[in-house]
């Protein structure tokens, strides 16, 4: 009766309070108490619902719990069976956010070097967002404007219980797609959600979503909320777009611009290839025009040839005439009488020269007379003539005449020359010294018979 009254009277309730005494039973059920300044109520969350909680319930966290009131007869208590629970109050949320951000940042999930370059022209774009609502429309519309593309939408809930799991599963699902499978694998992902309160965007701060985005094998753009909203998903993505529309703009270039650029390149390369040809043709023409006319060339040459022929003939005739004139001039003086006259003159000069034989014979005669006179005189002057009469000439060993006794006494030997021969004598009373040096020479040669030649000196 009491149980029915309570349960009927308070079917569904929403309570706001601070968690305390949080306890997770081995069964998976969660028990806690919700309290505010002056009241407290026990709460229980069965395993199924507790497992879907988007955050880890902790003591002191302010929450809003939705559930049914019921009684627990065994303890004479009433309690709330919580079906869903979310964090209440921005301060609490922000604190939780800061904590998670620091943790993931510490793991390097947001590091700039993890960011990949987006493809310039994605072939397929995967979009993770709600299939209803303005966001997907905005994205598709902007993509169509810029560059109609192949888009694969993975429909998810972007808010409320279970949305985080859906978003994470979608991101991982796209990442896991094999190329060439039934679902084309995108080369760019957009994770998008429209604007809302921090609670509305909370799914994109959930660790499971942030990790899925960070681990995505496909470059990912996050576009959650408005420009001023920042979620952890934005940090984990390769690029953050301020809005879903901006994500579409970032995702693809403008096709029209690319077409225009291509057309311009085509025109430029056509100009580039045609211009040199035209230039070359012009140059060829202008040079061709400067080639002289072959007829004029031949005519001019013919004229020159005629001219030279003419001059050649005239030149030859002139030269012959000139030579003839020169011959006549020099030939005139060439006569025999001229030569003869010269010969007569020379012969006359020759006759005037006296006979050299007469002169020579005269000189020889004179010389013979002088010689005869001298021959007669010569015998009287012979120094040896007096020797025949008893005189002698004394000479020293070197053959010089000795004319005084003083000189003679100093000589080792003297030679007396008589009319019929010579006689060697020794002057005075001293013995002849000549044998002494000869003895000495012989003695020294006995002392050293080995070198007879040297010992003589």
């Amino acid at each position: 009766m009491l149980k029915r009254t309570v349960e009927d009277r308070f079917g569904h309730v929403r309570l706001r309070g601070e968690l305390s005494g949080v306890k997770r039973a081995a069964s998976g059920h969660m028990y806690c108490a919700l309290k505010d300044e002056n009241a407290v109520i026990d709460g229980v969350m069965w395993r199924g619902n507790a497992g879907r909680l988007a955050f880890r319930p902790e003591d002191g966290v302010e929450v809003i719990a939705t559930g049914k009131l019921t009684t627990y007869p065994g303890r004479s208590k009433y309690q709330i069976v919580i079906e869903s629970m979310e964090i209440a109050g921005e301060g609490a949320l922000l604190a939780l956010l800061a904590k998670l951000k620091a943790k993931l940042e510490g793991e390097g999930l947001f590091a700039p070097e993890r960011k990949r370059r987006l493809p310039f022209l994605p072939r397929t774009i995967g979009v993770v967002t709600s299939p209803t609502g303005a966001v997907i429309r905005d994205i598709l519309h902007r993509l169509g404007d810029r560059f109609p593309s192949h888009v694969v939408v993975w429909p998810v809930m972007v808010q409320g219980q279970g949305s985080a799991e859906q978003v994470a599963a979608a991101v991982r699902g796209f990442s896991a797609l094999a190329p060439g499978g039934p679902v084309p694998r995108p080369d760019l992902l957009i994770v998008a959600r429209g604007g809302g309160s921090i609670e509305d965007l909370w799914s994109f701060n959930e660790e499971i979503v942030v990790r899925a985005i960070a681990e995505s094998t496909i470059p990912t753009i996050s576009a959650v909320g408005h420009e001023t909203d920042t979620t952890l998903s934005d940090f984990a993505a390769d690029l953050r777009a301020p809005t879903p529309t901006a994500a579409a703009e970032i995702a693809v270039p403008v096709r029209q611009e690319l077409m225009a650029m291509l057309d311009e390149y085509a025109a430029r390369q056509r100009r580039g290839v045609v211009r040199p040809v035209a230039l070359a043709r012009e140059r060829l023409i202008s040079w061709s025009e400067r080639l002289p006319d072959p007829k004029t060339m031949v005519e001019a040459q013919g004229q020159r040839l005629d001219d030279l022929t003419d001059r050649l003939r005239r030149g030859l005739a002139g030269r012959a005439e000139q030579a003839r004139r020169a011959l006549a001039e020099s030939g005139g003086g060439l006569r025999p009488a001229l030569l003869q006259r010269h010969v007569v003159q020379l012969r006359r000069d020759l006759a005037r020269v006296p006979d050299p034989g007469v002169l020579a014979r005269k000189r020889v005669g004179e010389a013979a007379q002088a010689l005869a006179a001298l021959s007669r005189l010569l015998p009287q002057l012979n120094p040896y003539a007096p020797l025949e009469r008893g005189y002698a000439v004394v000479t020293d060993p070197s053959g010089h005449a000795v004319t005084t006794r003083e000189v003679a006494a100093m000589q080792s030997g003297l030679t007396l020359r008589f009319g019929d021969g010579t006689l060697d004598v020794t002057p005075g009373d001293s013995a002849p010294p000549a044998p002494r040096p000869r003895k000495t020479a012989r003695r020294s040669s006995q002392d050293d018979p080995a070198s007879g030649q040297q010992s003589l000196f």
Partner: protein
């Protein structure tokens, strides 16, 4: 002319556009011999056609993942069909 012409189909749009840009610049510089400029132009045309094809092939095709009971996508269907 570093790559052979058959490599063009393997180029991404960006690479092909860059190659085309290079061809145009060289043609415009006038430093290329006349004979070579013809083959260069041919290559430029192929690059341009390749880029053009990539742009022409672009068409809006919006699909939605159809997931099986286990959540694994089994295929797609047009986005607006029954949405």
């Amino acid at each position: 002319m570093d790559e052979a012409p058959q490599d063009i189909s393997a180029l991404t749009y960006e690479q092909a556009l860059k190659a085309l840009e290079d061809v145009v610049r060289r043609l415009e510089s006038g430093e290329v011999a006349l004979d070579e400029s013809i083959s260069l132009y041919e290559r430029g045309e192929k690059l341009r056609a390749h880029c053009q094809a990539r742009l022409d092939a672009a068409q809006a095709r919006i699909e939605k993942i159809v997931a099986g009971p286990d959540g694994v996508p089994q295929g797609t269907r047009p986005f607006d069909e029954g949405a």
